[in-house]
Symmetry: C2
């Protein structure tokens, strides 16, 4: 039912990188022990000097910063297979926090093992670097999102990005034209990600629902008409660097029954 830990990581890396057989073998040799982490729990804190990298195995994590005023800004979401603090390998002190959403499983890999891994399979170093560059591209798009788009488009864009990123790792559902994905994010958190008040998030969601752009049930968002949502959002998946390998991925080598298995649609939200 659930994928073996190494395969979750491989699936994510393959969603925007070409892995060699050697890369895959090297990854499978790493010891990955997923452990459950309670919801809403910091796994990295501002000022920490982690000696390990966390890999999300199930559920979501989010990265945020706190201002002196007490306000918070979420700057990214992270999905199964991602290594949100890979950077701690090169930048010792964390300048932000990373927290779990609900139903999260995390594996911790010591920096030394990560360095071994890259030494054994040098192509992986480049792939990891590339991965952090794609993160950069996502940050850039978030700056655009928060800086320029009005509320409705902003949240629509967030949904588009989330869908595409989750689709790349097989964690969405499609039924005809209809697409849906887990969304374990409360309106308060969505507000902190979008740079909006929770109240306004609520009203904007209602507007999105009223115009049939999305619907929400039990911690999942449904998109009845992708093209319309994409157009409203002004969404262009370019920056995610995943289209090129997408077809290759669709005929990928993991069991197709496990699509939603690591997606963690537990919380009630939206």
């Amino acid at each position: 039912m659930t994928l073996p830990p190494a395969e979750i990581l491989i699936r994510k890396l393959q969603s925007n990188n070409a892995l060699s057989e050697g890369d895959r073998r090297a990854i499978r040799e790493v010891e990955l022990k997923p452990r459950p982490v309670e919801a809403d729990h910091d796994i990295v804190r501002h000022g920490d000097r982690p000696s390990q990298c966390a890999i999300i195995m199930a559920g979501w994590a989010y990265r945020y910063k706190i201002l002196s005023s007490g306000r918070r800004q979420i700057v990214s979401f992270h999905f199964p297979g991602e290594m949100p603090d890979l950077q701690s390998l090169l930048i010792p002190r964390s300048d932000h926090n990373i927290a779990t959403l609900s139903g999260t499983m995390v594996a911790l890999v010591p920096h030394s093992q990560m360095r071994d891994l890259m030494a054994r399979s040098p192509g992986l170093a480049e792939i990891f670097w590339r991965d952090t560059l794609i993160d950069s591209a996502i940050y850039r798009e978030w700056v655009v999102n928060v800086g320029q788009r009005p509320a409705l488009e902003r949240i629509a864009h967030l949904f588009c990005e989330t869908f595409v990123r989750l689709e790349a790792i097989g964690l969405v559902q499609r039924a005809g034209e209809t697409r849906s994905f887990p969304w374990p994010v409360t309106q308060v958190l969505l507000g902190e990600a979008a740079g909006m008040s929770a109240v306004h998030v609520n009203r904007t969601l209602q507007e999105l629902r009223a115009s049939k752009l999305i619907s929400t049930h039990q911690g999942a968002v449904t998109i009845p008409n992708w093209d319309r949502l994409e157009e409203v959002a002004g969404f262009d998946p370019d920056y995610l660097s995943i289209e090129e390998i997408q077809t290759e991925l669709r005929e990928g080598d993991w069991p197709s029954g496990s699509r939603f298995a690591n997606g963690a649609a537990t919380a009630q939200s939206s």
Copy 2:
């Protein structure tokens, strides 16, 4: 008067990395031919597949994205010694544009030579990676800035960041408590960076001036009281990863007469 090209790059890399003698030697062997680029000229365009990396030798560049609505968002500024499209080494297609401000000199290094460089001095690969990670940290802070801070703090924060980054490469001036730095950015562009209308930028600048937080003369910003500005902005230089090496840098090995030499305070602005 002006630093040799390789030294400009080295100075920047040393501002947040420890370079070995071998690294420096390898860099000095790269052929760097700075060429002037006219103001307000794109050096990378969305969709491009660059085969070279640009290195800023003098003046500033900025990175921006355009929305379908025609609005623009500047997502970063780049200073002498920086390689704004280093990422093109690993991500072939650009998802954004990079343009010059005034008085810019740019050197173009073919990807093949960049790869040679990293092969010859493997520590540099890690340093380049690290550099892109610091860029990420800056993007994150911009998301916070645009997402959470009100206009006055937002622009104050931008000034703080700019000062610290420029100081790390020796392109600022200090006279007693007073600090100043070149600012060749028009109010329209500042608006595009801050996610504000130009009109509101204008009024916010007036407010900053009225409260003696900054003053502006001939394309330079002066900060009479750093601590006050920093406090208003809620600025914490943590994320720039430069403090650790700052002292080492201050007694650095480039001629101290050349402080402002590559700074390009040409345009009239603010």
